[in-house]
Amino acid sequence: MTPTPPPIPGQYPDPAPSPIQPPPPPKHLIGQLLRNPRALVDGTGPDAGIPALIGLTLLGAIIYGLVIGSFARGDLLWLAPLKLVGGLLLSGIICTPSLYVLSVMGGADLRPRQLGIVLGGCLALTTLLMLSFAPVAWVFSESSSSPGFVGFMHWSLWLLSATFGLRLGRACLQALGARYPGSFIAWSIIFLLVTFQMATALRPWLGNSEKPFASEKMSFLSHWSQVLSEKPAGAK
């Protein structure tokens, strides 16, 4: 039997055998997202996790985007899914450096692959839940003519879904050694604010417009107050 050399001072000790289960094969990805998110961040599994998470995110965003676009129809029917996919990916890219810095400051031992898994897991679970809300959202958007009401509904469903997605991110970081939840809560607030502003930058979502994007720059708070003050055109 080969003896184990003692750890060298000033160097990370050899990682202890992980009690976390190895990552599941992609066909069980949804089950793992819902039941055992910690298994996603175990580094011993195959690298197929990130593409599968991105694929799930794209699928959920495209289908929910169709539901958003079905309110105004016309060009928005294909523009809304594109905007939702682009907006989610851009928000993720913008927030990746802060996720890394705040997570490591919170004590997590985060490597690039695990960073991708945490972010991808958050987005995938969020869009998966939005996908599950798609029938409800479609029924309400078909029976309402108020952009304010439909917009509020989409935002409520997004917030509800994102809460679960971010909770998954926190569980993953805890599995990676994070000790201070405050740093991830701070990042979650930053991420949500970025998505609110991204949606405002990529408007219109619900109203017909000659241009695919609004030219006027506006904060999301100003935009929301403007939308909520609009009167509905009449019952559908």
């Binding site: 050399p5 890219i93 913008i94 927030c95 810095v101 720059k217 904060s219």
Partner: protein
């Protein structure tokens, strides 16, 4: 128990833990040996982090004015950090042993640079967020009132981000000083003394290297025509006097 072969020992000794996570976590077990005997690679690493991180943030905030301003601000923000650290290096190295921390010139400079590098890492992480915020704000060409609101928003964000980065960097520096000095009292004394010196020099260097956001009414320029005219404290004093006298 037989000893493992020396060849394996040597190979393991060359494996270094990643420095960026160690800095962000304030991992004093990893950082203290490097601060006490900094090698060339460690110096390069700290300077590169400060230049890259603060530079990226400078480019982001300079993007509101446009033109050459992002490049100028991207050069000037790292310059403030490096000029403050080197300008006060001798003073800091004298204050440390006087206040009970037995470290020399190289060690005190490395400790201050390490705290600046941590702040720069946080600024780098905030750079895309600030760039996105500026993209969504009225441009510098917009109407006066909209431009004023945008300027106020940018300024407020800078205060929040820079305060968070500065506090985090200094908190990590405090942890390091406590580890090196073996006492909270010594760490507090040294940190307060270093902060006072760095604040005094840093504010004036910042004043001399203005502008950072740029002004609509003035052309984009690296430095104002008379950069050494006035100082930060005089300006604050006159502004405060204006506020009081106008009531």
């Amino acid at each position: 128990m037989p000893r493992p072969p020396d060849r394996i020992d040597l190979r393991l000794k060359t494996v270094q833990p990643p420095l960026i996570p160690a800095l962000l976590r304030g991992d004093v077990e990893q950082l203290a040996p490097r601060i006490l005997s900094p090698d060339r690679w460690f110096w390069f690493f700290l300077v590169a982090l400060s230049v890259g991180g603060a530079g990226a943030y400078g480019v982001a905030i300079g993007s509101w004015r446009g033109g050459w301003q992002p490049l100028f601000t991207g050069i000037k923000l790292p310059a403030i950090l490096l000029l403050t650290a080197t300008g006060n290096a001798f003073l800091n190295s004298l204050l440390a042993p006087l206040l009970g921390l037995q470290i020399g010139f190289r060690q005190s400079l490395a400790a201050v640079l390490a705290s600046f590098a941590i702040s720069s890492l946080i600024l780098a992480a905030a750079a895309p967020l600030v760039a996105f915020q500026i993209f969504n704000l009225p441009s510098i060409e917009a109407a006066w009132s909209a431009r004023g609101r945008a300027f106020d928003t940018i300024q407020f964000t800078q205060v929040l981000v820079i305060a968070f980065a500065g506090i985090s960097g200094n908190f990590r520096l405090f942890q390091l000083l406590r580890h090196l000095g073996g006492s909270t009292d010594i760490a507090q004394r040294v940190l307060i003394a270093w902060l006072a010196g760095n604040f005094l020099l840093g504010t004036q260097v910042t004043w001399i290297l203005r502008p950072y956001f740029g002004s609509h009414a003035l052309p984009v320029e690296f430095l104002r025509d008379h950069p050494f005219q006035g100082n930060f404290f005089e300006t604050v004093w006159y502004s405060a006097r204006e506020v009081v006298s106008s009531r």
